[in-house]
């Protein structure tokens, strides 16, 4: 019981980290960025290349890969989102153009890394086990949860307290009003993409390390989980995404333990479906989205 809970929290921390970036962009632009999963995947490959080929320590590779993820996000915004701004159907055309970028990113990863599963070298991380009560967790799992929580806390503080955070929130509220008040809207949106993609990239690196398997299509499964999380949490709400991420991780682990592993994915889609039908605004719906 305690063990399952721990495993659920561990899985949930990665879902939450992925979904926070997802929901941040949605909150600002009202566009679903379907290339988020490709950034997740590319950052994992960047970290892998840095550790395996450049022989860097993981602690150097992680921040570098996170920054790389953020920069890919800025590029993504520039190519696929900015040209569409102001178009009437921008939320559907943005969805499609981000899909196009996801395809391009995946093709690039396929060309460079091949379709097979890549793995981190054996000794990337010390294999140590920690006991918590009557449950056990690896040092790696504990660190992953720690890193995820710290990153999410940093994002929350950044949005709440800094000038940049206020600008991003202002744009989320109303781009036109923000522009009138002297906010550089393009820059605020680019920064939102940087933050979102950096967190998505961090989730990718941690996911790749935790399950020790990275492939060009690794993001696809996580993307659908991420959708379930942001719907459950309420579109655009960052605290909602955090809560829902952990909740989904825990629900999933318990489903696998109680019913069987083939029902793992059914649960997330069932959750997604039921929430959309019963309470489309999610746990912390619109009102909270304004604060995020």
């Amino acid at each position: 019981m305690g063990q399952q809970l721990l495993n659920g929290i561990f899985l949930g921390s990665i879902y939450a980290l992925f979904a926070v970036g997802y929901t941040l962009v949605f909150g600002v632009l009202d566009i679903l960025n379907l290339a988020h999963q490709a950034v997740f995947m590319l950052a994992a490959f960047v970290a892998l290349a840095l550790v395996a080929d450049a022989h860097l320590s993981f602690w150097v590779a992680l921040p570098l890969a996170v920054v790389a993820g953020g920069l890919i996000g800025v590029l993504l915004e520039r190519i696929a989102f900015r040209p569409l701004r102001g178009r009437a159907d921008s939320n559907i055309s943005g969805l499609i153009s981000s899909l196009a970028m996801a395809t391009v990113f995946e093709a690039i990863a396929l060309q460079f890394f091949g379709p097979d599963i890549s793995r981190f070298p054996q000794d990337t991380f010390p294999d140590r086990v920690i006991r918590i009560g009557d449950a056990t967790a690896s040092l790696l799992q504990v660190l992953i949860v720690g890193i995820a929580v710290v990153l999410m806390a940093v994002l929350t503080l950044l949005l709440a307290r800094t000038r940049l955070g206020r600008q991003i929130r202002a744009v989320a509220e109303s781009p036109r009003a923000a522009r009138i008040l002297g906010v550089n809207v393009d820059r605020a949106i680019a920064m939102a993409f940087f933050l979102s993609s950096a967190l998505g990239g961090a989730a990718g690196v941690l996911f790749g390390l935790a399950f020790n398997s990275i492939s060009p299509d690794v993001g696809r499964g996580v993307e659908l989980k991420g959708l379930a999380v942001i719907i459950l949490g309420g579109m655009g709400s960052i605290p909602g995404a955090v809560i829902a991420g952990f909740a989904l991780g825990i629900i999933e682990v318990f489903t696998v333990a109680q019913i069987g592993s083939s029902f793992r994915d059914v649960v997330s889609f069932a959750v997604l479906f039921l929430v959309l039908i019963a309470r489309p605004r999610g746990l912390l719906g619109r009102a909270a989205a304004r604060e995020a």
Binding site: I96, A100, V104, A107, L110, R220, V266, F269
Partner: protein
């Protein structure tokens, strides 16, 4: 001509099947709704068709195909009732969820061999069957254009609230197009199952809907034949460019993917109404230059 037809028979068949699927995505897009449940509808159609061929011996192929189209259409009604209240992105996400649930249902269903699926389905689909099915689909969608229903759909696409205010029964129209799209996807599923000899849950992943959406958008969603042009273009182009890619030292898989993504991006950014709007645009440009 006959040589060409024989040599590329399966390519033409896939163009036809993809065209039907792109039309199934177009059906809901025509009234401004992005529904991505079609892989699930296709799976239901394919399994229905295959099971009938196996277990109802002697049933004519036309009846099998009709059932393959009908089964997902029936499922679409209870799905549509709650889901069509959602708008835009929310509808897309809910329907993605539905599609995955259908796929996972077949993965877990022992009667159809779970993830392995059904194999050795007799090949009953001929090229002319596909052409005929596509012709019927185009006839139905073509007749909508300029009709009362067609104008209603266009009004809903442009502004749903305004359309409702004008007295258009928006829910009914949206439901009708969802059901029509489901039937088209199911028909394509039945055709494909009896052409490739097999059905397996892995063949109905979310990525496939994305392909059809891409084909519909690249072709153009403002007219009914746009998706067919998009499907033909995107199915044939990689075959033509395969040589060129190989010469550049690119593996065919990634190259094809890259091309798909790049074309989609270019179309959505620079040609929002798709390839069908290209001639008019070129003409306008030529006139502007002169």
């Amino acid at each position: 001509m006959t040589d060409l037809l024989l040599a590329y028979q399966s390519l033409f068949a896939f163009v036809g099947i993809n065209a039907l699927l792109a039309l199934s995505v177009y059906a809901t897009l025509a009234c401004g709704q992005l529904s991505l449940a079609n892989a699930g509808f296709m799976a239901i159609g394919a399994y229905t068709g295959a099971l009938l061929t196996f277990h109802a011996k002697g049933l004519p192929f036309v009846a099998v195909l009709a059932a393959a189209a009908l089964a997902p259409a029936i499922v679409a009604v209870p799905l549509g009732l709650p889901v069509l209240r959602l708008r835009g992105v929310f509808l897309a996400i809910a329907t993605v969820g539905f599609g995955e649930v259908v796929r996972l249902f077949f993965v877990n269903w022992d009667f159809t061999n779970g993830a392995l699926g059904l194999v050795a389905i007799p090949q009953r689909t001929r090229l002319w069957t596909i052409v005929l099915a596509l012709a019927v689909a185009l006839y139905v969608l073509g007749r909508l254009r300029g009709s009362r229903t067609g104008y209603a759909l266009e009004a809903i696409r442009e502004d749903e609230t305004a359309a409702r205010t004008m007295g258009i029964y928006t829910t009914g129209h949206k439901m009708a197009m969802l059901v029509l799209g489901a039937a088209l996807a199911g028909l394509a599923g039945g055709l494909e199952a009896h052409f490739t000899f097999m059905v397996a849950p892995g063949g109905y992943r979310f990525e496939r809907v994305v392909d059809w959406l891409v084909q519909a958008v690249v072709g153009g969603t403002t007219v009914f034949y746009g998706p067919v042009i998009g499907a033909a273009f995107l199915t044939v182009l990689p075959e033509i460019l395969r040589e060129a890619g190989a010469r550049l030292g690119l593996a065919p898989g990634p190259f094809r993917m890259f091309l798909n993504g790049a074309i989609l991006l270019a179309v959505i950014l620079y040609l929002p109404n798709g390839l069908v709007s290209l001639p008019a645009r070129l003409r306008r440009r030529a006139r502007g230059a002169a």
